[in-house]
Each structure stands twice: as structure tokens, then as C-alpha cells.
């Protein structure tokens, strides 16, 4: 019944969550979909929780994803993935960066950072593909490539070809920062490979777990 695809992109102000959602939106528009995108971002420039809703399909009415109906959750930070996992439908897929960002309230000892957010989301019954987008970006020499890595990771899970998304990423950079074009191409490919590897590993461990000890 759901012809509308619901993607929730979450993270922290300053990580590029909104830009990533914008690029996903551009890809969906390029394919002729009706698209709506909406954000709830905190009041300051950075550091707060950001969640960006993207809906596309034949005709999109409400811009908001109703809790329990998201198809995909793309989490730029693991604890944020945990915060929003209830937005996924039961069979939804979470794609999570493992790179942690601890907020001042945790540094001050007022709250604890969850021991293992990925495990917590899995324990709640959600399928998770986890990978280290932060390290990949840093290895490519620019932490801000993180959002292209994340887009690469989600590209295999979309109801359209990964090439469409890659083209949207590259189009954006060709227009704004041509010097970074090649790096973004690499970041996209690396993100895609990382998610594939993680998914394969999941299947392997599932198989192992199925083997009686």
C-alpha cells in the first residue's frame, strides 16, 4: 500500500545531514517523483539533534514521516540512530555510521553514552548495517566527505539505481566545488563498498549463529 518511500536522515547539526537529504531529494526529483522534505533542527548553529524527513512517490501529502513507517534510517551518528529507530517500520533498514560524537552533557558526566548503540538497535529488532563513515572520510583526507560516504552507503537500498544518486552527488559538487569532484566519487564508492561489506558480514554471522554449537 505504501507507494511513498520514507527516508529519515539523522545526525547532529554541522554533520551535513540536511545536505545529504537534499541530494537524495534531487535524485528522486530527477526520476520524476513528487518529493517533500522537512527538517526539525534545534535552535543553535550546531551540536543539537537534527532529523530530516524525505518522502517521495507519486503524490506526497504530509511532509512528515509518521513514527513506525520509515523505510530507511540513515544515521550519521550511532546514538542518533538509536534515538530515532522507532521511526522505522518493523521491516525497515537502518544504516548507521559508528563514528561517535559525545555531547557536552556526556562529557560533564550528567548522562552516559550508550555502551553499544548498534547492538541496542539490533536488540530492538531492527536490521542494521553499520560501518565507519567517519574513518573513511578521514582517510580520504576530509572529514566533510562523511555525508558523501553516507550517501554511498544508502545507495544500494534505494528503490532506484545507485547511479542516479551518484549523479546527483557529483552534479552538486561539479556546480559548487569542482576540485572535490574526484574525492566525492571515491567517497561515494567507499561508502557503498563499506555498506556492502557490512551487510555481507551480517549475513555471515547470521549463518554462523544458525549453526548449532
Amino acid at each position: 500500500m505504501s507507494e511513498t518511500t520514507n527516508i529519515l536522515v539523522v545526525g547532529i547539526g554541522g554533520q551535513g545531514v540536511m545536505t545529504a537529504t537534499e541530494i537524495l531529494a534531487e535524485a528522486a526529483i530527477a526520476l520524476g517523483h513528487d518529493v517533500k522534505k522537512t527538517e526539525v533542527a534545534g535552535m543553535a548553529q550546531r551540536g543539537g539533534v537534527v532529523s530530516s524527513h524525505l518522502r517521495f512517490g507519486q503524490r506526497v501529502l504530509s511532509p512528515q514521516i509518521t513514527p513506525g513507517t520509515a523505510d530507511l534510517l540513515l544515521a550519521f551518528e550511532p546514538a542518533e540512530g538509536m534515538r530515532w529507530r522507532h521511526m522505522l517500520r518493523p521491516s525497515g533498514q537502518a544504516l548507521m555510521n559508528v563514528g561517535r560524537l559525545t555531547p557536552p552533557v556526556v562529557d560533564l558526566g550528567l548522562y552516559d553514552y550508550p555502551a553499544d548503540p548498534i547492538a541496542a538497535v539490533r536488540a530492538a529488532g531492527t536490521r542494521v548495517v553499520a560501518f565507519d563513515a567517519t574513518s573513511i572520510a578521514v582517510k580520504l583526507g576530509e572529514i566533510r566527505l562523511g555525508n558523501t560516504v553516507m550517501l554511498g552507503a544508502i545507495s544500494a537500498y534505494l528503490p532506484f539505481s545507485a547511479d542516479v544518486l551518484e549523479a546527483a552527488v557529483l552534479k552538486r559538487f561539479a556546480a559548487r566545488k569542482p576540485a572535490l569532484l574526484e574525492l566525492n566519487r571515491q567517497a561515494f564508492a567507499a561508502g557503498r563498498a563499506a555498506a556492502e561489506q557490512a551487510a555481507a558480514h551480517n549475513t555471515d554471522s547470521a549463518r554462523e549463529a544458525a549453526v548449532p554449537a
Binding site: 543539537g48 561517535r100 557536552p104 565507519d132
Partner: protein, 624 residues
């Protein structure tokens, strides 16, 4: 930070992915508006920001919403189409002008876009601006998405000129900041009609106003007829006649999404409400629910007209009427089982409130305030409101723009016995000071208040994204503009020369000393901090720092600065020789983020914070 002027606007008939704010800006440009003014405020800011990138019209950042409305009104008197945008609370400031310009009416079309922060994403309250339509007897349009924001803005100019009335374009966060596809059109220029002297119309003395009052009410009656005939008000039919909806704004989208088979009366021109058409609609279904955000305005009017409707009896008076709010409420009404009760509960995660930026010039101010004993801090609206949070807990009150001044004077004059020794400090940013704070300071001086004012001059409207203002000496397009001299300004308001100090907020000892001294002296004083917001182009990064692990004693002093680049790596408690237990926090600095502002070095006694490059260690950027 100003967007570049005169970008080539997309050609007519383009289909563009636009936020509601982008769409309004495009429509305003196409409508041939000649003058547009605003004071930044979430979620309205981008309307003027984007409009300033269009060619061939005058745009300005005004110092407050009242001035912006007066500017737009002046242009409308001169016969130009004009526009002004503000967030909901801005209208409280502008209302003085609004409540009388509704009597004079306009010549050139005047559209006032008011953006309500339904859901409180970035505001101090959740007021419903549609109330102003009733109060000022002016029409209200309520678009539901970007395309409607564009269409309705164009229609609003037509209506404004037809009835010579200002029109309120009521948006909410969920229109302003939602992006969707919009088909745009062509620009039509409109020459200004010119100002025609007519004192009985433009000079609102009691005699003249008395003659304009009946005209205003006549206009309102004519508008009710126009609303009844308007194509912005229509019924979307549906097969399930058990329940019909009357909805306006984004609530329409949520209703359509949630109840695709229910008939809905979609109100775009929502005030004056087309009562008789709504009565007919109500008669065509078994029951009617009014879905309006947020006050029961229409509901009350319909009930008063004898139409049986259901509204806030079953729907919340707070926040958005999203599908997950509507569906269970309606299920309950219809006696059906609650839908999707299977939605999982959120997993528990720490809160992540917004933080000030790494190296923000306000950090030193709040660190200092947190170290001074026995003070009450009267605060204001801007990034620096975050000073109320951890680790500083150094802001004690905040209500509205500029209120820090008056509240501080009141805290001084109204102090009880217990507060006899308390020092009163007011904290206000440059932009907020120019918006509404100056008058309060004048009042403090005139009435001999004992208040120390910290005027945080960061040369930008930091919170809304660093818009230009008279404090940074740049106009809306980034061009040079006359720059206000705060030192001279506060002296002109009567603060004595010896009581005015300009301090670099990164020099903690000086700041601390000044604050201590000035709070002891029982007369008004002003300490101006003079370093820019790190996000504006004036900001100069320096070489970053790192923590030498072996030297760090875990005293935790640097953590109290509140810079988000400082992270605690390890925490423990040790027993001191004197038998006292002491908690220790060992830290690291995220060198890639550190701008080298030097704040955290100052409370570090063992000098464990050193330049990252000099330390001789290879620095590797760490995943957090």
C-alpha cells in the same frame, strides 16, 4: 554571509524544489514588489534572505519588526507593492503599527508574512498569528505547502490592492521549512502610483480615525463576501460521509494523508471565514472536525454561528496536527480501535541540546559569570540564551527581545530583603540590543538602576545565521553600511564614560576583574565584548591546541569553559592526603575543531594545553 545579489532568477515555468520561504520570495519578486523589509527570526528568516538575491527590488534588514512593517507600509502609501516578513513574536512588536495602518489601508499592495513556530522548534512561545487577522480586521491566507505559499502570496497582493487592505500571509514552520516542487511564473513590474497627500486618510488623529473605523468594518464585510467566492476555499469530496474536516494550513495535508476518503473543506482564505459555505458543508456530513493549528479560532466562530463542530475537544491545543496526532484522536471519536498501537517506544538516549560553537566569544562570558558569586543574570534572546544550560547555568531569566534590560531594572527595584546584596547583571547581544534593548538601557539610566549590562557585540545576528546589521557595518548584500558605535551609543543614552568598558571576551582575567568591579559600583555600567561570532567572515582562526596527557591533572577546569572541542576521555575519583575525595576528568581537545582561541588555557594551572604543532607528536584526526 549575505547571499550574493542579483543572481539570475530561474525562468518562468521552471519547476523548482523550494521551501515555503523560497516560494514566497519568488512570488514577491514576481508580483513586482518594490520594497521588502524584515528582521531575521526563525522560521521566517529565509524569505527576505532569498528575496535579497533577486534583482530590481529594494530589500533591507530592519532593526526590528515594527520598523520593517513601517518601512513596508510607507512604501505602500507611496503606491509601491511592498512586503514584510517576521516570525510570530515579531508581530507583537509590529502590532502597534498594524493596529492603526489597518485604518488607513494601503495604496500599493502590502503583504505581511507571519511565520508561526508551531511545534516550538526555535521560539519562546507558540502563539497563533491568525488572531491578528481578527484583531486588526484584515484578511488571512493560510498556505499548506510550497506551491500554495507561492500561489497565495501572489493572490494576496491582488486582494490587498482590490480592498486596499494589508493581507496577512500566515505560515508555519511546516510550510516555511518544507521543500517541495513549485512551478513558478513570470515577473510583472509595477510602477509606484505615487504618494497622494490626504491627511484625513494618512494622519490618524482621533477625528480622522473615527471616520476610518466604519470603513474598516465595511471592508471586513466585503472581504467576507470575497472569501465566500474565493477559489482558495473549496471542498475536496470523499466517500466516507461519517466525518468531514474543515482544515487550514499544513493541517490540510495531514488530514488528506490520514483520511483520504473523508470530505474536507480546505480553507486557504481563512479569515473572514466563509461561514455560510461552511454551514452547507457541515450539513453534508454526519459530523465535522475542525483541524486548525493551534488556537480554536475558527471552531469558536463556527460554534458561535450555531454550527455543530468538534475541534479542540478532541485535538490538542499545542503543537502540530500531524497524522500520528490526528489518527488516534479520530479513532477515539469514531469508537474505533486505536491505529498502529504497535509503534515501538523510543529507545532511551541522552538528550543532545544545541551547544554554542567551538570558540564562541560568549563562552568566556558565561564561564566568567559562572565564577562570580551572588549575581542574578537577566538574559535575552540569541545564541547566548544557551548560557542557561550546562556547564555554565549562568542565565536566570529570558522572555522576549530586549527584555533583559527592563527585567534587570525590575529585579533591582523590586529586590527583597534576602536579595539585598545580590548584584544584577543583564546580558544582551548586539542585534537584540538594537532591536529592543536600547530603550530599556535608557530606562535603567534615567531611573538610576543598579545594573551591570554585558553587551555582547559579536557583529552578527548569530542565531539566525549571521545576517548583517548596523553592528557589523554591512548592508543586506554585504556592501558597506554605516556602522553603529556601541560605546558612543551607550554613552549617549547616559551611561557615564567611566562606567563603559570595551573588553576582549577571550581575556578572562580582564573580563572577571571588570565584572567584579562594575557589579560593586551602584550605578548603571556597560561592559561591551568586542569579538565576532566564529561563523562570520571576520573571524580569524589560529593554530589549534592539544592536551599533553602526562601533564593534565584531570582538574576539569577547562571543561567548565563549555567549548565543544574539549572532550572528557576518562573520569575517576582520588583520595587526597587530607582525606577528601576529589573527582577528576581527564580531557582531550579535538584538534581539527579547535580554532586556537586560547580560552581553555587560562584556567589550566599545570599548563597541559599546548600548541598542537609544537608538541612534536604526530596528530591524527580521531573519529570521535
Amino acid at each position: 554571509m549575505a547571499p550574493a545579489a542579483s543572481l539570475n532568477p530561474a525562468p518562468a515555468h521552471s519547476r523548482l524544489f523550494m521551501s515555503g520561504n523560497d516560494a514566497v520570495a519568488r512570488a514577491v519578486w514576481e508580483a513586482g514588489v518594490r520594497v521588502a523589509a524584515a528582521y531575521p527570526g526563525t522560521p521566517a528568516t529565509e524569505m527576505l534572505e532569498v528575496l535579497s538575491t533577486y534583482p530590481d527590488l529594494y530589500t533591507e534588514w530592519s532593526v526590528n519588526e515594527k520598523v520593517s512593517l513601517e518601512v513596508a507600509f510607507g512604501a505602500a502609501m507611496a503606491g509601491s507593492r511592498s512586503f514584510c516578513a517576521m516570525k510570530h513574536v515579531g508581530m507583537n512588536v509590529a502590532a502597534d503599527a498594524l493596529m492603526t495602518l489597518t485604518l488607513t489601508g494601503v495604496v500599493g499592495g502590502l503583504v505581511i508574512a507571519v511565520a508561526d513556530d508551531v511545534g516550538l522548534s526555535s521560539s519562546q512561545n507558540e502563539q497563533d498569528s491568525r488572531t491578528w487577522g481578527r484583531f486588526a480586521h484584515i484578511p488571512v491566507f493560510e498556505p499548506a505547502d510550497s506551491q500554495e505559499a507561492y500561489d497565495f502570496a501572489l493572490a494576496a497582493f491582488e486582494l490587498s490592492e482590490r480592498f486596499q487592505t494589508p493581507v496577512l500571509l500566515r505560515l508555519t514552520t511546516r510550510v516555511c521549512h518544507v521543500k517541495a516542487l513549485v512551478t513558478v511564473g513570470e515577473r510583472h513590474t509595477r510602477p509606484a502610483a505615487g504618494f497622494a497627500k490626504e491627511s484625513s486618510r494618512w494622519v490618524m488623529v482621533p477625528g480622522h480615525a473615527a471616520r476610518r473605523l466604519p470603513l474598516m468594518f465595511e471592508r471586513e464585510q466585503q472581504l467576507a463576501i470575497a472569501a465566500a467566492e474565493s477559489s482558495l476555499n473549496y471542498v475536496e469530496d470523499g466517500g466516507d460521509r461519517r466525518l468531514g474536516f474543515i482544515a487550514s494550513g499544513p493541517a490540510c495535508m495531514h488530514v488528506r494523508e490520514s483520511f483520504p476518503d473523508s470530505p474536507m473543506f480546505k480553507l486557504g482564505f481563512s479569515y473572514p471565514a466563509p461561514i455560510e459555505r461552511l454551514r452547507e458543508f457541515a450539513a453534508s456530513v454526519d459530523r465535522v472536525v475542525v483541524a486548525e493549528e493551534v488556537e480554536p479560532l475558527l471552531e469558536t466562530e463556527l460554534k458561535a454561528a450555531g454550527i455543530a463542530v468538534i475541534g479542540k475537544d478532541i485535538l490538542p491545543r499545542i503543537g502540530e496536527l500531524a497524522p500520528n496526532v490526528l489518527k488516534p484522536a479520530i479513532a477515539r471519536l469514531l469508537g474505533e480501535p486505536a491505529p498502529e498501537s504497535s509503534v515501538a517506544a523510543p529507545l532511551p538516549v541522552f538528550p543532545r541540546p544545541p551547544t554554542m560553537c567551538v570558540a564562541c566569544p560568549h563562552l568566556g562570558v558565561y564561564y566568567t559569570l559562572s565564577q562570580v558569586k551572588n549575581i542574578t543574570v537577566s538574559g535575552d534572546i540569541g545564541c547566548y540564551t544557551l548560557g542557561a544550560g550546562h556547564p555554565w547555568n549562568a542565565l536566570d531569566a529570558c522572555i522576549s527581545m530586549g527584555a533583559s534590560m527592563g527585567m534587570a531594572l525590575g529585579l533591582d527595584k523590586g529586590r527583597g530583603e534576602a536579595d539585598a546584596d545580590r548584584r544584577i547583571v543583564a546580558v544582551i547581544g548586539d542585534s537584540t540590543f538594537m532591536h529592543m534593548g536600547m530603550q530599556g538601557l535608557l530606562d535603567i539610566v534615567y531611573n538610576r538602576g543598579n545594573v551591570t549590562v554585558l553587551l555582547l557585540d559579536n557583529r552578527a545576528v548569530g542565531m539566525t545565521g549571521g545576517q548583517n546589521n548596523p553592528g557589523n557595518g554591512r548592508g543586506i548584500h554585504g556592501e558597506e553600511a554605516p556602522r553603529v558605535d556601541f560605546e558612543q551609543l551607550v554613552k549617549a543614552l547616559g551611561v557615564r564614560e567611566e562606567r563603559v568598558h570595551v573588553v576582549n571576551p577571550y581575556e578572562l582575567p580582564t573580563l572577571f576583574k571588570r565584572l567584579r568591579e562594575e557589579t560593586k559600583i551602584p550605578e548603571p555600567s556597560v561592559i561591551i565584548t568586542n569579538q565576532p561570532c566564529v561563523l562570520v567572515q571576520d573571524y580569524q582562526r589560529k593554530s589549534p591546541f592539544m592536551v599533553e596527557e602526562d601533564t593534565c591533572t584531570g582538574c576539569g577546569n577547562c571543561v567548565d569553559i563549555g567549548c565543544p572541542a574539549i572532550h572528557v576521555t576518562r573520569r575517576d575519583t582520588v583520595l587526597k592526603p587530607n582525606g577528601k575525595e576529589v573527582a577528576r576528568s581527564f580531557v582531550r581537545i579535538e584538534t581539527a575543531a579547535c580554532t586556537g582561541c586560547g580560552l581553555c588555557l587560562q584556567p589550566c594551572a599545570p599548563k597541559a594545553i599546548v600548541p598542537a604543532s609544537v608538541a612534536g607528536k604526530v596528530h591524527v584526526l580521531q573519529p570521535h
